[in-house]
Point group: C2
Chain length 897, copies 2
């Protein structure tokens, strides 16, 4: 807790600086920084984010806070040589929110604080512009009534429309001073009627109300929703920035505008921006007047027919101010070493800066800005790496929804696999296949998916489910396929039997068009325009080369087929960290044998079925080994409970009974006997391998035989056998002995010199707690953070969606722990296991193969705890490579290098 | 690993002693100890248990081992002044197994090693008894063929029957020397035919075979099964004891016998035992001759008509030997400070001791021996406490199966709740109620039970299930009721629809008699005699008084009703550690309202239903508070997922639909929408409390209103509100705030001064990891070790039975972790949480309310990590009190006090 509540800035000196974003918010920190750089900034002060958090608890502004505000305000008065409540020459203030990160349009602003029936006269006299003065007063009453006092904004807006209609006017600017006076009175009447309270005339009362309004706006619904989507913790709070007002609406020598120091869409290095003469900031946003381009180059780039092509630029209209602004642009870029998003106001030919911050940009722009700034010598390649956000890469690798498209968002689920997809709704995997064969693009909609849906998922453009979390089957498989997926969409009701889904008040039948945005989780009506990916942008290669040269962590991929393995390799994967073997059993040619194996009465019958499956498995492994020549391939032995391979519905069971030539009863009895109350905690993983050793024996035989076979073809093969779900040393030790016995037997018989490793997933909390013992019998640990998260929190990934969304929204959890690794809880176990494991086995290899392997903050954690590699789905490999480099750069910066 | 493989003893000196049971087994350690005490023991040596474990891996006896054996054997030869392979005067050896704890009849023995066609002549010459010599040879060939060479014992036995039939003999003793010679030849022939190998004539070859046979016997099926039932780890191994043979069968001056230093059934202090003249040990066991009583007092106690009443006693027949034996009896009791179980042989009027060990005894005997030994001044009260095993108390509190009854054990499940129960089989709770009302005793048989079965469980004598583990619903509820239960009986097939069960090849219909033994998990055909409990034995009170004076740990109980609370209080409970509130909702008067609450469309409707439930809850709490006047009562807010309160079968759903006046579809849709893949990891506990705050609010209101109400009646009420399933500080913090706000409001409004605590279960691994944070907002932690075990291991208590049994049998786990707390894994979390919790909140109360609270080894662990109390089901309270005292005594001993 900081002892200081209010941070002053003005006239070349500031209490704060750009590093204090947590306390002062982004806006406040940068206003202080610009002030210290002697860039012209209207003086003011920032109330800290801590005061916001305090306010959420106390719901009042403390006397201590008010006193500090008054002291800072007095300094501003001294600089401006005006008094806040001087009727003759009033100092006016703006109040703006400013959180640690930008939350555009989410929180509130009030301008012109300090005006009342008396000071408006002083302002008119001093400015010599009575209309400006009353218009400013009108704006205050309207904004204050809406934002602070809670009157419906439309009611106040309607008052303006009414007077314009009565006078026969088109534009606000046609309103006379008397019209404005009448309008102000009308609005005050509305406020009184709606709230029971008068519009406050005391400037300080106005100020406190404005500050409280900003604090309250932190916890309005849209702000909470925005934070939920963007993983912003609720306990960060917002700062409040109070600044002396400067006016862009004092006549033709005044203006206001917003600009980016480079083009935020393409990344091109030119001064990009818009402005309006004689306007306040809200007018630029409101869209009632057409903004003009900042300079002639920007105007030249406008497409033919654009209205602004015929309007003068700032470069033409106010060349001195433009020159000054362009100089500040260069200073800011050089100072911040990043592309900036700025706001400015020109009051009577004098330039004032109101904001600077890192500019939001597209993926394409991000890599171009980074690459070019390095070429320009403005940043080092290390610094350039930090200019690209991992999410930018997602844009380059997947279709995106056109940012300019009008969207009818019907609901939101979890952003389970990034990119946009659109197509006709289908409700079954079979329909997906049929429609796709008929040349249609489809989006597969299910309550949840299961391994039986794989074929349908494979042909769908994207996947939408109403249940399940970030590590549900749909999410994991979709990410593996690089296919957009929105999962666990609670707004969505799916009735697959009836063939309908309903969302956001609209009902869809099979064949209706829907679009999903797996990057933010939204479900959109119809088919808005999509923007294609940019995988071959040369700037991308530049950035990735730097990343690879910088990072220590290796990046592997989770891939179950030669195709996925090949794709991941193209994305830069340095091995396979998780090859699941269970998907291999769902092929049409093998599921029957798998089921025979499961239905077998005894070990001999099971072995008989396994004999048929083995060469198929060996084939799979040979393909993957060949694709990953010279790179390690970690193969996990069978993990899911056996009942996953049997159908659970009557029709499916009848089909299996017919296929296998047994009675339906035999199938239903087996399904029944295998039923588990909590399959996630049931008979799976190494527990299967110990009770039915023949299954794992077959798999080890297939792996090693495949390795021996490809080695004779000259492939440099590096198999790693991974035992899942171990929790005791004996489980791992017994199975390791089995694997080594079989593998060594095959290798010796073939006179081969294949080398292999045997290790385990660490995904049971007990395995982490006992890691010293586990490491004694493991060549490697691979953290299965999906299951580790499930068990450490006691959350079922399939069921937790019903409360997890609410938990994140209410700040009970900072983020979905299936998406971002819970570093304080689950992370403790990971760290403990690393330390204990290395103690008894200093050579142990450590990696992570949970879905967190592709999440940037989790990658950073993995680097810090000293893992050797992360493994993630193929399309996340570039992101992991970048994130792994960024953490190294940040460490260098922290170390002062 | 000990560097010594073989421990010699003989002639007053021994390499080992009684403390070395782990290495030498119980028998070997005590033979060494007796030797050092100068008690006459035939000299010999013990091969360590470590060699047994080595043998399981290598399957050969190493040269190093053989050399050490030969060296020790040479020392025996020196003492006995005979040579092992001297044909003229052979030294013979016995080989006996001896594990760390006694496993009676589980492992193998071979006597008379060293005899062959040559040495038998020498023995005959030296002993002057040719018949004895050939009979000994016959015994060796028979035993060796069976035990070492694996010939079916019946085949060899049949050879004896054949020759007796041919000769027209009744008794073995009628066989002449020539008959025996013929018999030996016949048996050798059988051995050769059956195994392809000759009976070995080389004494050393015989010896190695005998040693290997003992090692192998450690892992035969019956030994594995015995260990599984008795929780003996598979990696303990057995030692092998080789001793110079002494012979009780050398004529009328020889004898052999077994004895207890006190009566093992009643505990009475007299020398209790039996013997046979001219016999070897196996004859006493075989039952072909009637053993005689050791002394006249024992003979007097025999019931009229007993054959031995007319036989002479050792006291009469061999008064000198008897006197010597009685003196040894006293020395041994004084030395070991415990009742001993001894074996002796008298060879030609010379007494030899072959074994001493702590004697197995009944519960009644245990407390009598302990109490009387203290009175006699032989032990202190501390030492006396260690003479009673916690399981002995179970015998005193429950019906037991008559130890003399002939049992037809059909199968075995988990010993889920101790005691014996018998009655007619019923397959539904409803039938149990109906039959019970008709005056019948019933045993309720289910695949698994659910809360809907409570009424039936309540009237049943005992409960038998085919599924579920030690913490399944059936097990937990049965223990709470003090009712015998065998759970998860894999041998049992239940078809409730058809109304049949099958076990051990027998089919039962409703109404057939069955008996279950919840103490060892066996299921028994019919109705063997039962022995009633002994709760009011005055010795019990003495022991419990000592325990209470000694222990530091408090003992609370898990109780959900005033009746259970009262009963537990009588058993010495010092509070309620876990009062579950969910069972309260299953009463006929309230389940309807509960279901209305669940089916409510919105919060208002839910609150409406809760308003009706609240006074019922308050009533429950008042009853419990009154029963527990002056003692703390920890009440857990609602924990199970809501779907547990709805029926899952079509008929049940129709009933609910009718009751509630809604369509069946409404019910099925709700059941469907509440369905969870893994309910254990789903929407339950505090997650319910946060999403539906009105439920917990109602419960807190009911608790505090009840406390205020009983306080006005003069009850000293100490409510503790427990929030279940928390995993983050915010979950607990938010709900604590809610509870405090409501509680303080009610207390203030009533001008009461009720004091209460708010704390949490620690049952999610993350809660333990974050215990420092949790403790900041908790007055107490109560370790819910059932769920903590589930999540730390990733084992579902409902599903794990299919592999847990096998895991324990194979030594992958030392014991069922739902029965005995896994100290190395789960225990780490408990310990960590204690340390971290006390760091941020030094005043925090710490307890355990999982089922482990009644398990002696777990109680000991709880004491050591510094918990304040354990809480267990009412019938386990005395056991926990004793266990809590025993750990203190053991600590004193370790500290050398």
């Amino acid at each position: 807790m900081s002892s200081k509540r209010v941070y002053f800035f003005g006239d070349g000196t500031a209490d704060g600086n750009a590093t204090m974003k947590n306390l002062l918010g982004g806006k406040g920190a940068n206003l202080a920084e610009m002030t210290s750089l002697d860039i012209p900034v209207p003086p003011g002060f920032t109330i800290t984010t801590e005061m916001c958090i305090e306010y959420q608890r106390t719901r009042v502004l403390s006397d201590e806070l008010k006193n500090e505000v008054k002291a800072a305000l007095a300094k501003v008065e001294a600089i401006m040589e005006k008094k806040f409540d001087n009727p003759a020459d009033p100092l006016l203030f703006s109040v703006r929110s400013g959180a640690r990160v930008s939350m555009p349009g989410m929180m509130d602003t009030v301008l012109n604080l300090g005006l009342n029936d008396e000071t408006v006269l002083g302002l008119a006299a001093i400015s010599g512009n009575e209309r400006f003065s009353y218009d400013s007063y009108r704006r205050l009453v309207q904004m204050y009534g809406d934002v602070v006092m809670g009157v419906d904004g439309h009611t106040l807006e309607h008052a303006i429309d009414a007077i314009k209609a009565a006078r026969g006017f088109e534009l606000d600017t046609e309103l006379s001073v008397d019209d404005l006076k009448e309008l102000i009175a009308t609005m005050k009447g509305i406020i009184k009627k709606e709230t029971g309270n008068d519009f406050p005339t005391d400037p300080f009362e106005q100020l406190w109300g404005g500050v409280e309004a900003v604090f309250k706006s932190w916890n309005v619904e849209r702000a909470i929703e925005y934070r939920r989507i963007n993983h912003i913790p609720g306990d960060w709070g917002t700062a409040v920035n109070c600044q002396a007002m400067v006016f862009g609406n004092m006549g033709e020598t005044s203006a206001t505008g917003v600009a980016f120091t480079r083009d935020p869409s393409s990344g091109e290095n030119y001064f990009y921006g818009e402005f309006l003469v004689n306007a306040q900031g809200e007018d630029v946003v409101a869209g009632t007047r057409t903004p003009q381009q900042l300079n002639n180059h920007g105007r030249d780039l406008l497409p033919a027919g654009n209205v602004a092509k015929d309007l003068a630029t700032l470069e033409e209209l106010m060349p001195e101010s433009y020159k000054a602004l362009d100089a500040i642009r260069t200073r800011l870029e050089n100072h911040y070493k990043d592309m900036q998003d700025i706001e400015f106001t020109i009051q009577d030919n004098r330039l004032w800066m109101l904001q600077t911050r890192g500019g939001k940009r597209t993926g394409v722009a991000a890599i171009r800005v980074a690459a070019e700034m390095e070429k320009e010598g403005m940043v080092t390649s290390d610094e350039a790496l930090l200019l690209v956000e991992p999410d930018h890469l997602d844009q380059l690798l997947h279709d995106q929804i056109d940012p300019d498209a009008e969207l009818n968002v019907l609901g939101t689920g979890l952003p389970a696999s990034p990119g946009a997809a659109q197509g006709e709704v289908v409700f079954s995997a079979q329909d997906a296949v049929t429609m796709s064969e008929a040349g249609k693009k489809v989006v597969l909609v299910r309550r949840e998916t299961s391994p039986e849906d794989i074929a349908g998922m494979n042909v769908a453009e994207g996947i939408l489910t109403s249940r399940g979390g970030m590590t549900s089957h749909a999410a994991v498989v979709a990410r593996g396929m690089g296919k957009p997926c929105v999962a666990g969409c609670g707004d969505l009701m799916v009735d697959t039997n009836a063939g309908v889904m309903a969302i956001g008040g609209k009902e869809f039948k099979a064949g209706d068009m829907v679009t999903i945005n797996g990057t933010n989780g939204s479900v959109i009506d119809g088919a808005p325009n999509l923007v294609p990916p940019h995988m071959d942008d040369p700037n991308l290669a530049t950035i990735m080369d730097w990343a690879d040269a910088t990072r220590r962590l290796k990046v592997r991929t989770n891939a179950d087929s030669p195709h996925d393995a090949q794709q991941a390799r193209e994305f830069g994967a340095e091995g396979i960290g998780l090859c699941r073997t269970e998907h291999m059993f769902f092929g049409e040619d093998r599921i029957l044998k798998m089921r025979q194996m499961i239905l077998a009465e005894n070990e001999a019958e099971r072995r008989e079925a396994l004999v048929v499956i083995k060469p198929m498995q060996q084939d799979d492994f040979e393909g993957i080994f060949e694709a990953m020549d010279t790179l390690p391939v970690t193969i996990r032995l069978l993990d899911p409970p056996l009942h996953e391979f049997l159908p659970h519905d009557a029709a499916g069971q009848q089909t299996v009974a017919d296929e296998m030539g047994v009675s339906l009863e035999v199938i239903t009895q087996k399904v029944d006997s295998l039923h588990e109350e909590n399959p996630m905690l049931g008979h799976r993983g190494c527990r299967l391998g110990l009770i039915y050793p023949e299954i794992y024996e077959m798999q080890v035989e297939a792996i090693i035989a495949a390795a021996v076979a490809v080695k004779t073809k000259g492939i440099d093969v590096r198999p790693e056998i991974m035992i899942p779900l171990t929790g005791t040393q004996r489980e791992l030790g017994d199975l390791r002995e089995m694997a080594v016995r079989i593998a060594d037997g095959i290798i010796a018989a073939a006179k081969s010199d294949v080398k292999y490793l045997v290790g385990t997933m660490i995904e049971i909390p007990r395995a982490a707690l006992m890691a010293d013992k586990m490491a004694e019998v493991a060549d490697f640990f691979s953290f299965g953070t999906n299951d580790l998260t499930q068990m450490t929190f006691g959350y079922s990934r399939d069921d937790a969606a019903v409360f997890l969304g609410e938990y994140v929204a209410r700040g009970i959890l900072p983020s979905d722990p299936f998406q971002q690794l819970d570093q304080s809880g689950v992370g403790q176990l990971v760290e403990m296991a690393c330390v204990k494991g290395r103690k008894t086995n200093p050579d142990i290899h450590l990696g992570i193969c949970g879905e967190h392997g592709g999440d940037p903050s989790s990658v950073s954690f993995c680097h810090k705890v000293g893992l050797d590699y992360v493994s993630c789905s193929p399309f996340r490999v570039p992101i992991a490579r970048l994130a792994a480099a960024q953490v190294v750069v940040r460490e260098k910066i922290e170390a002062g290098n």
